[in-house]
C-alpha cells in the first residue's frame, strides 16, 4: 500500500519546505512575540493599546482567513503601490515569503501572551536588584530577565510550536509546495489519495514527536537547579 510510485523524492522536498517554513516563521513569531510582550508590560499607553489590539484581533480570526487576506490582499496592495514607484510589471508575491510572514505574524500574537506570562513570573525584586547594582536596562534584560523567563516560557512555547507546525499545512492552499501540496499533486496523478495523505500524516506525527522530545530535554535543562514541589 505504501508504494509511492516515484513520488518519494517530491514528498521529501515538501517535508523540507514544511520544516524550513516552520522554523522561519518561528523566528519572526519569536521576535514579534517578545517585542509585543514588552510593549504590553511597558508604561506607554499607546504601545500597550497597540499590542493589545494586535493580539486580540489575531486571536479572534482564523489563521486561514488571515492567510487569504494577507496573500490575496497583499497581492492587490503591492500592485496598487508599485506603479507609484515606477514598477510597471505585474508583481507576484512569493508564496513562501507570504506564508512565513503570515504564520509569523499570527503566532507572534500567541507567543506574546506566553512571553508576557513568563516575564511576570520572574520576581520583580530581582530586576530591581539589577537596577540597584547599576546595570543598564539592556543588561537587566539579558542577564536577569531572559535566562529566567526561558524556563517559564518553555511549556507554552512548546505548545505554540506544535500548533505552528500543523498550521503550516495551510500554505498548501495558497499554492506553496509544502508536504500537503506535494501529496495532493501525487494523489491526483496516481489516484491514491489515501496512501499519500497517510504518508504525510505519519511524517507530521514524526515531526511533532521529535519536537516533543527536544522540548522535554530543553525543559529539563532549563529547570536545572529548580526544586519541584
Amino acid at each position: 500500500m505504501f508504494d509511492l510510485q516515484g513520488y518519494g523524492a517530491s514528498i521529501l522536498q515538501g517535508t523540507i519546505l514544511t520544516v524550513e517554513l516552520s522554523l522561519a516563521s518561528l523566528v519572526i513569531a519569536m521576535v514579534l512575540g517578545i517585542v509585543c510582550a514588552l510593549a504590553k508590560l511597558s508604561d506607554q499607553r499607546v504601545l500597550k493599546a497597540a499590542a493589545q489590539g494586535y493580539t486580540t484581533i489575531i486571536r479572534g480570526v482564523p489563521e486561514l482567513v488571515l492567510m487569504l487576506l494577507i496573500y490575496f490582499g497583499g497581492q492587490v496592495l503591492i500592485n496598487q503601490i508599485a506603479p507609484v514607484f515606477g514598477f510597471e510589471d505585474y508583481i507576484d508575491i512569493n508564496p513562501f515569503i507570504a506564508g512565513v510572514l503570515t504564520i509569523g505574524f499570527i503566532f507572534g500574537a500567541y507567543l506574546a501572551e506566553t512571553f508576557r506570562g513568563a516575564i511576570l513570573a520572574v520576581p520583580a525584586g530581582q530586576l530591581e536588584a539589577g537596577v540597584a547594582y547599576g546595570m543598564t536596562r539592556l543588561q537587566v534584560f539579558s542577564r536577569i530577565l531572559l535566562p529566567q523567563m526561558v524556563r517559564h516560557a518553555i511549556p507554552g512555547f512548546g505548545n505554540n510550536w506544535l500548533v505552528l507546525m500543523k498550521t503550516t499545512a495551510l500554505v498548501s492552499i495558497i499554492g506553496l509546495n509544502d508536504m500537503v501540496r506535494t501529496a495532493s499533486l501525487a494523489s491526483g496523478a496516481t489516484r491514491m489519495p489515501f496512501t499519500f495523505y497517510m504518508v504525510i500524516a505519519v511524517i507530521y506525527l514524526m515531526l511533532t514527536s521529535v519536537s516533543i522530545l527536544i522540548l522535554n530535554w530543553l525543559n529539563k535543562r532549563y529547570s536545572a537547579g529548580i526544586i519541584k514541589d
Binding site: 490575496f72 499545512a169 500537503v180 507530521y204
Partner: protein, 229 residues
C-alpha cells in the same frame, strides 16, 4: 474599498454563517459526549489494550494537522472500491459529512486529553471519601469525579470552542460554503480580497467575542462557590 458588494451579497455570508454554526456546534456536541465517555473509560478501565487504543487515538489526532485528517477522510476514502460500493459511500461522498466527521474526531481527541487531565487533578480525599461512603466506581464517577473535573476543565474547554470555530474555516477548502467559503466566493467573483476577507474576519471576531462573553458568564455561575469577593 467598496463594501457595497458585501451588502448586496450578504445572503451568501448568512448562508456561510449557518453552515459554520452547524458544523461547529454539532461537532463540539458529539465530540464532548465522546470525550467524557473516553476520559471516564481511561480513568476506570484496567484493560491495557483499551487504554492503549484511546491514547493512540489522542496521540495521532493531536499530532497531525486537521487539514490532513480532513483530506484523508474526504479524498482518501474514495481510493477503496470496497468503500465506494458500500452503503458508507452515501456518507463519504458528501463534503459536509466528511468535514463533520473530521472536526468531531479532532475536537474529541483534544477534549479527551483535557478532561483526562482534569480528572487526574481531582483531590485524593474526595475519592477516598466516596469510597468510604461505599460508592461504586460508576457512582463515584458520576457524582464526585466528573462534576468537579468538568468544572475545572471549563476554562481550557472555552479555548477549545474558539479553536474549533477557527478550525472550521478549513471546511471551505473542501467546497463547503461556510463563512470563509462565502468570502472566497466573493473574492473570486469580484476580485476584492479586502472586502471579502475583512468581512469574514469581522464575522469570526464577533462570534468569538460572543463566545468569550458567554463563557465568562458560565464560569461565574459554575465557580460561584469559589468567589471570595
Amino acid at each position: 474599498m467598496d463594501f457595497s458588494i458585501i451588502f448586496e451579497n450578504l445572503d451568501i455570508y448568512i448562508e456561510g454563517l449557518k453552515n459554520t454554526f452547524f458544523l461547529v456546534s454539532i461537532s463540539l456536541f458529539i465530540g464532548l459526549i465522546c470525550a467524557v465517555v473516553l476520559a471516564s473509560t481511561l480513568k476506570t478501565t484496567n484493560n491495557i489494550l483499551v487504554s492503549f487504543a484511546i491514547k493512540t487515538y489522542i496521540y495521532i489526532f493531536r499530532g497531525t494537522p486537521l487539514l490532513v485528517q480532513m483530506f484523508i477522510i474526504y479524498y482518501g476514502m474514495g481510493q477503496f472500491e470496497a468503500v465506494k460500493t458500500s452503503f458508507l459511500w452515501v456518507f463519504f461522498k458528501e463534503a459536509y459529512c466528511c468535514a463533520l466527521l473530521a472536526f468531531t474526531l479532532n475536537t474529541c481527541a483534544y477534549t479527551t486529553e483535557m478532561i483526562r487531565g482534569a480528572i487526574e487533578n481531582t483531590p485524593k480525599g474526595e475519592i477516598e471519601a466516596a469510597k468510604a461512603a461505599g460508592m461504586s466506581t460508576f457512582l463515584r464517577l458520576r457524582r464526585i469525579i466528573l462534576p468537579s473535573a468538568l468544572r475545572r476543565a471549563l476554562p481550557s474547554y472555552g479555548n477549545e470552542i474558539i479553536f474549533m470555530l477557527h478550525s472550521s474555516s478549513l471546511a471551505s477548502v473542501i467546497t463547503i460554503v461556510d463563512i470563509t467559503g462565502a468570502a472566497r466566493i466573493i473574492n473570486s467573483r469580484f476580485y476584492s480580497p479586502y472586502e471579502a476577507f475583512l468581512t469574514a474576519a469581522v464575522f469570526y471576531m464577533g462570534i468569538t467575542l460572543v463566545i468569550v462573553w458567554l463563557l465568562k458568564r458560565l464560569e461565574k455561575k459554575w465557580f460561584a462557590h469559589l468567589d471570595r469577593s
